[in-house]
């Protein structure tokens, strides 16, 4: 096929599309598009302040060093704690968001947090249970075979990895505990 100045196979006409597709072209004019232009100064956000009142300051609240101050509103959902908290605080206080070390330390903090919290849960009446918490027990109600096979699904190729990623650390931890206790007995 030769490359020419117009599309060789033009798309259907506006009249044809308008008849077939409900609302076709309703926002054809960019003026009707609410995000056009991207930046506008004439929108009413509802704010009745130039600068909002500040949430009571918590001096221990971590913040990005790219911020010039703690933001006037901040989340308080899960304050830093434990060794994972120390790792995360170091990531925030030492490295900007531009540094890979910032994010890699936060990823490390996430994994340490998971270990700390799993261990802590074993000292409670509701220890972590990877069987119920992964929802795998619902498999049989949700057509596991029909859903996964019989059509081409790209993710079936790597599904075998998921149980290893989820159960692997638990099996490994169990093996380490087993070896420690056996070592003590021996």
């Amino acid at each position: 096929m030769a490359y020419i100045s117009e599309k060789t196979h033009p798309n259907p006409s506006a009249a044809e599309l308008r008849a077939r597709i409900p609302g076709w072209g309703a926002d054809l004019d960019p003026v009707n598009r609410p995000s056009f232009p991207r930046e506008r100064r004439d929108l009413d956000s509802g704010a009745h302040w130039d600068y909002p009142e500040e949430q009571p300051r918590d001096p221990s609240r971590e913040k990005s060093i790219e911020h010039l101050q703690l933001t006037p509103v901040y989340g308080t959902a899960q304050p830093l704690k434990g060794f994972s908290g120390a790792i995360r605080r170091f990531a925030y206080e030492r490295f900007s968001e531009a540094r890979a070390a910032h994010w890699l330390l936060l990823i490390l903090g996430d994994r340490v947090d998971a270990i700390e919290e799993h261990l802590r849960s074993f000292a409670t009446l509701r220890p972590d249970n990877p069987i119920t918490q992964t929802g795998v027990l619902s498999e049989f109600r949700r057509h596991p075979i029909k859903s996964r096979f019989g059509s081409k699904r790209a993710d079936v190729k790597h599904m075998w990895l998921d149980p290893i990623l989820v159960a692997g650390p638990w099996v490994l931890a169990g093996y380490v505990v087993y070896r420690v206790f056996r070592g003590k007995k021996g």
């Binding site: 072209g25 598009r33 971590e62 989340g75 968001e97 890699l104 109600r141 989820v166």
Partner: protein
């Protein structure tokens, strides 16, 4: 619900959140939804995701309590809450960039505040819960119109607004060929919205047949199952006179499939800020001088993106988190006119107590799952 580590969630009792700022509201959640981007959290892909965090950035509810400076809402109001948390007055909010607020996320400057989306987006618990703290109650939430179906209202809090916004980012002109990568909720809404902008042809790409069937019926789109073709880009070129699409909308994000190496390094081993397969297909599949609209969520570290080809093709890459509330007036008109019926894509409704099942089903794409609505026990 609370996060208990990658692939693990459960329901726990937490205290009802309290007013922490004079413009806070506490909302009793009546409906929430699981978003595709919640799966990035569920799989442990987002950074600074702390054990005990409550997910959920798509929710509606009833105002339970308001802070002393709240003027626009009162106790008992039925509200829909955009996923963006924003002050409405900072440099960015003053310019309409309501998803890029500088006054709500202490943990990062690159991203605004989002409910239930890790401490990287501010450390606010989300709405897959009985109650949620809603900062800047005079700015974000809006009262649900009496005529609007509650599920439609819920879907406006993110998925519909994001898909509609993504079609706008494509700068579609009359007759454009638009390819949408991903037939999840956002991709379906983006495909449907592309017609509103005047697209001449809409093609949706995915690997799940049941979702492609929905793309055909709900969004009137042509469909391609990329797992059934040898080379998606060659097929797209053949379909577009060898040119490529005028616009490609990427509605997949960090866990894209289609290249085993990229998926495993980006999504499973977390060595990239997400799997860049869909981004690279967008760059390869769009025509020279074309526009790529990026809606997919990615982590903050580097990804292996084919930037050289994007430069050589002279592409326009447009992206952002959707400033949700800017979309609402026009979307309400479209819903009222019958052009959009957002809840047509809802496949499952589950009680909050079954949240682990809900996440597993959505993550594993079981039972024809496209969109799951979560019903809190206090609803």
């Amino acid at each position: 619900m609370v996060y208990r580590g990658p692939y693990k969630v459960r329901v726990e009792e937490k205290d009802i959140p309290r007013i922490e700022h004079p413009n806070d509201a506490i909302v009793r959640v009546t409906k929430a939804a699981i978003c595709g981007s919640d799966l990035h959290l569920y799989h442990g892909l987002m950074t600074d995701l702390r054990i005990g965090h409550t997910f959920g950035h798509e929710f509606i509810g009833i105002v339970h309590e308001v802070g002393s400076s709240v003027q626009n809402l009162k106790v008992g109001d039925r509200v829909m809450v955009p996923f963006n948390i924003y002050c409405g007055s900072c440099f960015f909010c003053a310019r309409g960039l309501w998803s890029n607020c500088h006054n709500v996320n202490a943990n990062a400057t690159a991203v605004g505040g989002i409910y239930g989306y890790s401490h990287t987006t501010g450390g606010f618990d989300g709405g897959q819960a009985d109650y949620v703290r809603v900062p800047f109650a005079d700015v974000g939430p809006a009262i649900i119109p009496d005529w609007l179906d509650e599920e439609d209202a819920l879907l406006m809090t993110d998925a519909l607004s994001t898909g509609y916004f993504g079609a706008q980012l494509g700068d579609i002109v009359e007759g454009d060929t638009v390819v949408v990568l991903g037939a999840g909720p956002v991709g379906l809404y983006a495909a449907k919205s592309a017609w509103l902008m005047g697209a001449g042809r809409v093609i949706v790409v995915d690997h799940l047949d049941y979702r492609l069937e929905k793309a055909a019926t709900f969004a009137h789109a042509e469909t391609i199952n990329f797992a059934e073709v040898d080379d998606l880009i060659v097929l797209l070129k053949k379909e577009t006179d060898g040119l490529g699409a005028d616009v490609v909308i990427e509605a997949v994000g960090a866990e894209a499939d289609g290249n085993l190496l990229q998926h495993i390094t980006g999504s499973k081993l977390k060595l990239q800020g997400g799997s860049p397969i869909a981004l690279n297909w967008a760059i390869d599949g769009v025509r020279k001088g074309g526009t790529v609209s990026i809606l997919g969520a990615y982590g903050p570290i580097f990804s292996a993106i084919k930037f050289g080809d994007a430069v050589n093709k002279g592409l326009t890459l447009r992206m952002n988190q959707a400033p949700v509330k800017r979309q609402w007036p026009r979307l309400l008109e479209h819903i009222k006119a019958g052009y959009l019926k957002p809840s047509d894509i809802v496949t499952h409704r589950i009680p909050l107590e079954h949240i682990a099942e809900g996440y597993h089903m959505f993550s594993s794409k079981l039972d024809g799952c496209i969109k799951t609505i979560v019903l809190p026990s206090a609803a």
